[in-house]
């Protein structure tokens, strides 16, 4: 690949995909990385476990609804959970910029601790580096995590059939909207608040129904639109969702409308998107809605027989394609 890295390469959209396909997969794509899972399922000594890593460079470090510390816990915990595992151990690596106020670091580490305790994960190993002023923007965090596989789940697209249901566990786009509003200094009355939170309880709660669950993912960078396209791309089915059934928060909606953003492209950090057999939709909703993080869970659409096509029934009943976002919608969102 000629040229240089552009911010858009980190956006989670089409450019990111191209980068991975041209630079990462040819080198590392032979093993478990081949299918580009957010978490790999591996076997060691006869035991199956999930392994995942994520780096956090969000700006600003603190935002309505959370900070980079809890985000770094939730990001990895959620990647492990949606792979069908019970998160157990995390590593915590910090890159600190000379001059970062200790009080800020303290608040962020407190959030790491609170987040880890709430998720039942142990911070098992870590690392700290300091770089000169100007060489990083306050603080970057990397976390990696290990989870025990919940054996009931057998996730995969092979069994997907038309009529299967698409569910989300809560309002979409809250994290991206909160970051954008904080960064741009928009003062909106009851504006967007990040949904940075774990989804592992939602996964655990449906383990008894796991046989009919085909796929789970948390729609972070690139939003719901990206996850839906990744699901349908190259598979034997298509997806159809209804705009009027998408749960959203009023503050997030107001910001999206003000800026002309498509909520389907905006990141969540505490939302679970799930594909399951139709008859499981109601029992899953029922279980999810007993948790605060699942209170607004909804069926948003269903699987169709139109291979590879993701379509949206718009708020007024028109039908259109759901495309991947392109370029730098929002750099440094997580």
């Amino acid at each position: 690949m000629k040229g240089r890295i552009l911010l858009g390469h980190g956006g989670g959209g089409r450019l990111s995909h191209e980068l991975v396909e041209t630079e990462i997969l040819p080198r590392f794509g032979a093993g478990p990385l081949q299918s580009l899972p957010d978490a790999a399922t591996l076997t060691l000594g006869g035991r199956r476990f999930c392994f995942s890593t994520d780096s956090f460079v969000v700006q600003p470090l603190e935002f309505p609804g959370g900070n980079i510390g809890d985000l770094a816990v939730h990001g990895t915990v959620n990647d492990l959970a949606v792979a069908g595992s019970r998160p157990r151990f995390l590593s915590l690596a910090l890159i600190l910029e000379e001059g970062l106020p200790l009080a800020t670091l303290g608040r962020i580490l407190d959030a790491v601790k609170r987040g880890a305790d709430a998720c039942g994960v142990t911070i098992a190993t870590g690392d700290t580096k300091v770089v000169r002023r100007g060489q990083c923007d306050g603080l970057y965090i990397n976390t990696a995590g290990i989870g025990e596989v919940i054996e009931e789940f057998s996730l995969g697209f092979a069994g997907v059939i038309p009529g299967d249901a698409i569910l989300v566990s809560g309002p979409i786009g809250d994290h991206g909207a909160a970051i954008l509003a904080a960064r741009e200094g928009f003062r909106i009355d009851r504006g967007p608040v990040s949904d940075s939170r774990p989804v592992h309880r939602l996964v655990e709660a449906i383990a008894p129904l796991a046989a009919g669950v085909r796929f789970m993912r948390d729609p972070t960078r690139g939003g719901v639109a990206t996850v839906l396209n990744e699901m349908a791309l190259g598979h034997h089915f298509g997806l159809r969702i209804r705009e009027n059934d998408l749960p959203h928060s009023p503050g997030t909606r107001a910001l999206a409308e003000m800026l002309g953003l498509d909520l389907l492209h905006v990141a969540s950090e505490g939302c679970l998107l799930l594909l399951c057999a139709r008859e499981l939709a109601d029992p899953i909703l029922e279980r999810w809605r007993t948790f605060p993080e699942g209170r607004q869970a909804q069926v948003i659409g269903e699987v169709t027989d139109q291979a590879g096509r993701v379509v949206l029934e718009t708020a007024i009943g028109g039908l259109r394609l759901v495309d991947l976002p392109s370029g730098e919608l929002l750099p440094r969102i997580c």
Partner: protein
């Protein structure tokens, strides 16, 4: 959205679907085809996003006009902005401009090579940048129609009153009415009705469209951007067309006054003077630019940084110009979706979120299907 809300919206939309179908049947009986143009990029995007072309029967053609400010900006302007970034000036811009191809490069590339390009969502961010970097020069890329001109000039006014000395504007402001006048008097283009944008109209006033209705017999409706507003607007245009009486209907009278926003217009008038502008695809249109008055030339980035704006080089294969006039649909460009797509845009129409090609690409080829305003 709560379920009942959504349900009511669907019901209202169903009502308009039936009305438009009725109009379609009448047109078919009379053997006529009506050609409507949505003037503004925000309408283009909303029409694509809500799949409003799904509602139109065969005899109603909806074509996209020149109302995407990024799309009609000359590549030479981008070259100047890139040069500023290369020289170490902080360039503050709306996100859309970052990936628009200039003659050789883009602002995104300039940034990757070390240039300081800051994306903002509100012009006030540029003021903030200038205040926070007193030792640097900040240039705001002032591109847009009347809707954008007003807040940018309000920002400039704040900069002037706060005595901020390191901020200037690289202006490519454009006015909608002269462009519409040019399109309507082009004998190669037929337009029966104009869907006029609420936000631009809120500044310039609904009366700005009177000449089109009265002199050229073109139906005009000022409509909002909610999907139902647009359907109502299209229905209004059809009623005017079928009754044979063109006028200016203001469906947004709550916000859009006949004479516009006098306060904003007065402020704009204090800082700006009309001049000729070159529009990508449409050529030079008299009095369609708004330039800084000579007494404010210290805020003119071109002046301040000694830039000589030259007409840039367009990608020769890009048919943006024809598409901006509504003469071709995006899908009719041989590069559409192949060599040119939103991540490797060859023309501005594929970059801007309001561009006709981007809308067509993103939302599944429904946009611009009904093309060909050529009579």
């Amino acid at each position: 959205m709560n379920y009942r809300d959504g349900f009511r919206r669907m019901e209202a939309a169903g009502h308009f679907r039936r009305r438009l179908a009725d109009h379609g049947r009448q047109l078919a009986r009379e053997g006529r085809v009506v050609r409507l143009m949505e003037v503004c990029g925000s309408h283009t995007m909303a029409i694509a996003r809500y799949a409003i072309r799904d509602f139109l029967p065969a005899g109603i053609r909806l074509v996209s006009g020149p109302g995407c400010p990024v799309c009609v900006t000359d590549p030479g302007y981008l070259d100047a902005a890139i040069e500023l970034a290369d020289r170490g000036v902080i360039v503050s811009t709306f996100g859309d401009m970052v990936r628009v191809p200039g003659s050789r490069s883009t602002l995104a590339q300039a940034r990757a090579e070390g240039g300081r390009v800051e994306v903002c969502y509100s012009p006030m961010s540029a003021l903030e940048l200038a205040r926070n970097h007193p030792a640097s020069e900040v240039v705001f890329l002032a591109v847009g129609f009347e809707t954008t001109v007003a807040p940018v000039i309000a920002m400039l006014d704040a900069a002037v009153s706060q005595g901020i000395g390191n901020l200037s504007l690289l202006t490519a402001f454009k006015r909608i009415p002269p462009a519409l006048a040019a399109l309507i008097s082009d004998p190669g283009i037929r337009i029966d009705g104009l869907l006029c944008p609420a936000h631009v109209s809120a500044i310039i006033g609904a009366d700005a469209y009177l000449p089109f209705a009265e002199t050229h017999g073109v139906a005009c409706v000022v409509a909002g951007f909610e999907p139902l507003d647009i359907l109502l607007g299209l229905d209004g245009l059809l009623q005017q067309y079928l009754s044979g009486k063109a006028r200016v209907d203001n469906q947004y009278a709550r916000v859009v006054k006949p004479g516009g926003n006098r306060q904003a217009l007065a402020l704009m008038d204090r800082y700006l003077l009309p001049g000729d502008a070159s529009w990508r695809g449409l050529g030079t249109i008299p009095a369609s630019a708004l330039n800084l008055r000579p007494e404010f030339s210290r805020f003119d980035a071109g002046n301040r940084h000694g830039l000589i704006l030259q007409p840039g080089r367009l990608n020769p294969g890009c048919l943006c110009g024809e598409i901006l006039k509504g003469k071709l649909a995006p899908e009719e460009c041989p590069l559409f979706g192949g060599a040119c797509h939103p991540d490797r845009p060859l023309g501005p129409c594929m970059v801007s979120s309001e561009g006709n090609c981007a809308a067509a690409f993103r939302y599944g080829g429904k946009v611009g299907m009904a093309s060909g305003v050529c009579a």
